[in-house]
């Protein structure tokens, strides 16, 4: 554990510069030594509940019930904007005084909420009970509630549980928790099953389809994606399952799958021409595909991506960039920006640095780039102002205030909500960073 709950002193909680390798949180391989600035202080990040915003669009037959407070409900609608035009497939069961005072049995109340919902939404085939800070603090056992409710509603509806609470999860970790819950439901693949590939992390449908086509062309298969568009389309998992991570924030999901015998393919993350190539190549190598064939399949997409990146490269080359922690996508994105667009990452902040899964990406970051994990937002703002970067990647709470101070910003959340993976999206991804700078150049006000 790093800085413990700091004693009261006149100094602010100091960040500690650890020379030791990034904490690997139970994973065996230690990443290359690179100093990591670890800070504790005020964090300016979303909690894991926010993952529901994309998960409920991705998993089309699932409904997410947050068991939480009015704050959780308000967070969801503020972060999601009001998508009330569509009735969303998520809602908050708001814990009230009478639930806390024991006047109402929280489990009975939850049963009623689920029954009513399912009566109204017969299209729903899976319900996720999502824990929040209040439900965790009062120790409401949602896993047991899910078992009970599943017993009652199966085979029509499966009920699962995970926690997206802010005391345990930061933003994208909510997806990690959700996928981990799904892993528990996966059937067992026999030990002699042929090798199969499981791609991890919610992807926009268009990207998933592109990836599927490329795997087909490479001759890799069968390929499954987690999460799938239907909650209960779960592939079997066993010792011959190979895992390929499309997102860097899935530590628990990977661990759960490894416990079931699956093995992870080490690869760069599929951002940019280089990352996407390396990602497919790693999978192909694992499946024993001939390198010449791999090259034939990947070359057109890779070349197209490189060509498409040229205009953005002209705009971004040499520009410095500063990442506030948000989604854990920061290290691979910084790698892409520095290697393929010539940007200079000054600080790459991430809420949580999973060194093992990121080892290849981290190795490609420039030596002078500062890596930071956790946050003390005030001190980080001081560093950011001092560095005066050309572009700041930050959350919605910080963007306008920093713009008003004269910095140019990019909302981090857009990186999570846009198709950015793969060859065909490489230029779009670059465009997300180029646009704020181009806009600044355009405006004469």
């Amino acid at each position: 554990m790093e800085v413990a709950a700091a004693p009261l002193s006149l100094e602010s909680q100091a960040g500690s510069v650890a020379e030791a390798p990034a904490r690997d949180d139970g994973c065996a391989v230690a990443p290359a030594a690179r100093p990591v600035l670890r800070e504790r202080g005020q964090r300016e990040v979303f909690c894991g509940l926010t993952g529901i915003i994309w998960l409920h669009r991705k998993i089309q037959d699932a409904f997410f019930i947050i068991v939480g407070s009015r704050t959780c409900a308000h967070l969801m609608q503020s972060a999601a904007g009001v998508m009330a035009f569509a009735e969303p497939r998520f809602a908050t069961a708001i814990i009230e005084d009478r639930d806390l005072a024991g006047l109402a049995d929280a489990n009975d109340e939850l049963d009623k909420v689920v029954d009513r919902l399912l009566a109204r939404r017969p299209d729903v085939k899976a319900v996720f009970l999502v824990g929040s800070c209040p439900s965790e603090v009062i120790k409401l056992d949602l896993s047991r509630a899910a078992q009970r409710l599943s017993a009652r509603h199966m085979p029509n509806v499966r009920v699962l549980a995970y926690s997206g609470s802010g005391i345990e999860t930061t933003f994208t970790q909510g997806e990690d928790a959700c996928l981990t819950a799904l892993v528990r439901d996966m059937p067992v693949a026999p030990a002699d099953a042929p090798p199969s590939l499981l791609v991890l992390g919610a992807l926009p449908d268009v990207v998933e389809d592109q990836f599927k086509r490329t795997f087909d062309a490479l001759g890799i298969g069968p390929v499954a994606f987690l999460p799938a568009r239907r909650a209960r389309d779960l592939p079997a998992v066993g010792p011959n399952t190979r895992l390929l991570l499309a997102q860097p924030f899935l530590a628990d999901t990977v661990r759960a799958l490894e416990d079931r015998g699956a093995t992870r393919i080490d690869a760069l993350f599929p951002f940019g021409a280089e990352g996407t190539s390396a990602w497919f190549e790693a999978a192909a190598a694992e499946f024993g595909i001939a390198p010449a064939h791999v090259e034939t399949v990947l070359a057109p997409g890779r070349d197209r991506a490189r060509r498409a990146l040229e205009p953005a490269r002209r705009q971004l080359e040499g520009k410095s960039i500063f990442f506030f922690p948000d989604s854990q996508l920061e290290p691979p994105l910084a790698r892409f920006l520095s290697r393929e667009l010539g940007m200079r990452p000054i600080e790459v902040g991430t809420p949580y640095l999973h060194g093992t899964h990121l080892a290849r990406d981290l190795a490609l970051l420039p030596a002078e780039t500062r890596l930071s994990e956790g946050q003390d937002v005030e001190r980080q703002l001081d560093r950011c102002r001092a560095a005066a970067p050309d572009l700041v990647v930050c959350g919605l709470g910080l963007a306008n205030p920093l713009e008003a101070e004269g910095l140019t910003t990019k909302w981090a959340i857009e990186l999570v909500f846009s198709p950015i993976h793969g060859f065909e999206q490489a230029a779009d991804l670059a465009g997300l960073f180029a646009r704020p700078l181009a806009r600044r150049g355009l405006l004469k006000v």
Binding site: L8, R70, G395, P401, S418
Partner: protein
């Protein structure tokens, strides 16, 4: 446990944040987990503020729970003071921290900071945002107002008043304050302190020196006004000056205190609304069926504007803040209605679908509901989204506010002559249903869905699969014959919903199994009474 998809109000600590963010020189130390920092974006994104709200969150984590969350709080309060040097600090807990019972007030006092530290006690599991704002403002006023102050002698000076209630994130508060300040000035009254928005803790010390108070927004200002009345014997003007009539009433109430001649002041034309409404072009507004819902203050005021100043027919009136339910009920009774008091947007949607009004006046939630039901809508109350913080001057209070309201309430409607043409040439290819009012952007279902997708989540939300309305289903038992369906389609879309519903009700009441063209016109005659 209530299942909520959308909420009209946030938790009470968000109300406190609205007070703190509106003020200057105040800092809020909030014991809360990291995710609660989302509240910052309400101000920086939705209201487009150019500075972070003055709040420090402790952002405790699970691993702190067994340990020293109290120590974390003290550290955060200490650091916040050192960094921001505020004139005063408010401290409190969000819903999660409330369960920890760390007593932020006691902890902060123990730090012995050289500025006033005001503890907030906002029960998150019982109360909501407006109440939290009101309570926070009251706590600040009680803690800071110098009780020894009295207004100076009245002779030879202009009178002064305080404007109470505006906060950050309020619906048009910025412009309302400017408009009412100007109006009061014309009436010979200077605004001493506007609070909470714009005031510093030091300003609040001097509240007692004003001659009287004006409560602009009872939801946030009434509790403080009552306390000031008791403590300083300051009278209060309690008429929200929304609409022409209410503004005139407001002027008379102010004049009653100052001794000015209200009739002389109101003799000349002050607003364009009265003439615009009397001019013949507005005839077509007569009897338009309107549904009004919002916070109690705006809903009640808009109902009056709609009925008395535009000649609409009020078919529904409701509010989400139960604290003011009594006032809304009284107002609704005046129009022969039963008030809809609920904070469940599904109830509101059901009511709108049932009533099929021709215009909805509501919050951003009703805008979405109305869009889905294809009913014109104007936003008249918080909660609102980024587009309801207009760049232009756009008050809803005072005489200019009345002008703004005329435009706001008329704009969504099909214009008079156009309405006639639609009725006469129903099969005209340019006047087909999808066209909508000619001065508004075309509203086909696909563009509507796109507009509703929030920019926070660009491209994230293919909404089509959910777009099916979940309005109460039409009466399934009754079948429309093909010719009747065809005839119904010739009725302009903005009244078709009403016609369908009325006809079905008519048929159901008579036990008819099917509806033909005759039934349609029988029902029309029946409901035309």
């Amino acid at each position: 446990m209530q299942l909520a998809m959308w909420t009209y109000e946030g938790p009470p600590h968000v109300g406190a944040l609205r007070v703190a963010t509106g003020m200057r020189g105040l800092h809020y130390v909030l014991h809360a987990p990291q995710g609660d920092t989302y509240a910052d974006l309400l101000f920086t994104m939705i209201e487009r503020r150019n500075a972070r709200p003055p709040v420090t969150y402790t952002t405790f984590q699970a691993r702190d729970l067994g340990g020293d969350t109290a120590g974390l709080f003290k550290q955060a309060a200490h650091d916040a003071y050192a960094r921001f040097k505020p004139e005063a600090i408010i401290v409190g807990a969000s819903c999660t921290a409330e369960l920890l019972q760390d007593d932020p007030g006691g902890l902060a006092r123990a730090l012995d900071l050289p500025v006033p530290v005001i503890p907030l006690d906002l029960p998150s599991y019982q109360k909501k945002e407006s109440w939290g704002a009101s309570e926070t403002f009251l706590a600040l006023v009680r803690a800071l107002a110098d009780r020894s102050l009295t207004p100076p002698p009245r002779e030879g000076r202009r009178l002064t008043c305080n404007l109470l209630g505006p906060t950050a994130l309020g619906f048009r508060h910025r412009d309302d304050v400017a408009e009412i300040t100007r109006l009061l000035s014309e009436l010979g009254v200077d605004v001493a302190i506007t609070a909470p928005m714009g005031a510093s803790p030091r300003d609040l010390v001097r509240l007692g020196a004003a001659d009287f108070n004006v409560v602009l927004y009872p939801e946030t200002g009434e509790a403080a006004a009552r306390w000031l009345e008791k403590t300083f014997s300051q009278p209060a003007v309690r008429i929200p000056p929304i609409g022409h009539g209410a503004t005139c009433d407001f002027v008379r109430a102010v004049a009653a205190i100052t001794g000015a001649d209200a009739d002389a002041f109101l003799a000349g034309p002050r607003a364009r609304l009265p003439w615009y409404s009397r001019s013949v072009d507005s005839t077509y507004l007569t009897g338009k069926r309107v549904f009004v819902y919002g916070d109690a203050t705006h809903a009640i005021a808009m109902a009056r504007v709609a009925v008395e100043e535009l000649g609409f027919e009020l078919v529904g009136l409701g509010a989400y803040n139960r604290e003011f339910a009594r006032e809304v009920r009284v107002a609704a009774e005046r129009y022969g209605l039963t008030a809809l008091i609920t904070d469940d947007h599904m109830d509101v949607e059901a009511a709108i679908a049932e009533l099929q009004p021709e215009l909805v006046l509501g919050t951003q939630m009703e805008r979405h509901i109305a869009k889905r039901l294809r009913i014109p809508c104007a936003v008249i109350s918080a909660p609102v989204h980024v587009q309801d913080f207009p760049a232009r001057y756009s008050p809803v209070m005072g005489f200019e506010g009345a002008n703004v309201l005329f435009d706001t309430l008329v704009h969504p409607l099909v214009m008079g002559l156009e309405e006639h043409l639609l009725a006469m040439f129903r099969d005209d290819f340019e006047f087909h249903d999808g066209a909508g009012p000619s001065h508004l952007a075309a509203l086909t279902p696909s563009t509507a869905a796109h507009a509703a997708a929030p920019a926070h989540t660009p491209d994230a939300a293919p909404v089509a699969d959910d777009a099916a309305p979940h309005a109460p289903p039409a009466n399934d038992a009754i079948v429309w014959t093909a010719p009747a369906e065809k005839e119904l389609a010739k009725i302009p879309f903005f009244v078709r919903g009403k016609a369908r519903r009325n006809t079905e009700r008519y048929a159901a009441e008579r036990g008819l199994a099917s509806i033909d063209v005759e039934t349609l016109y029988d029902a029309k005659a029946h409901f035309a009474r």
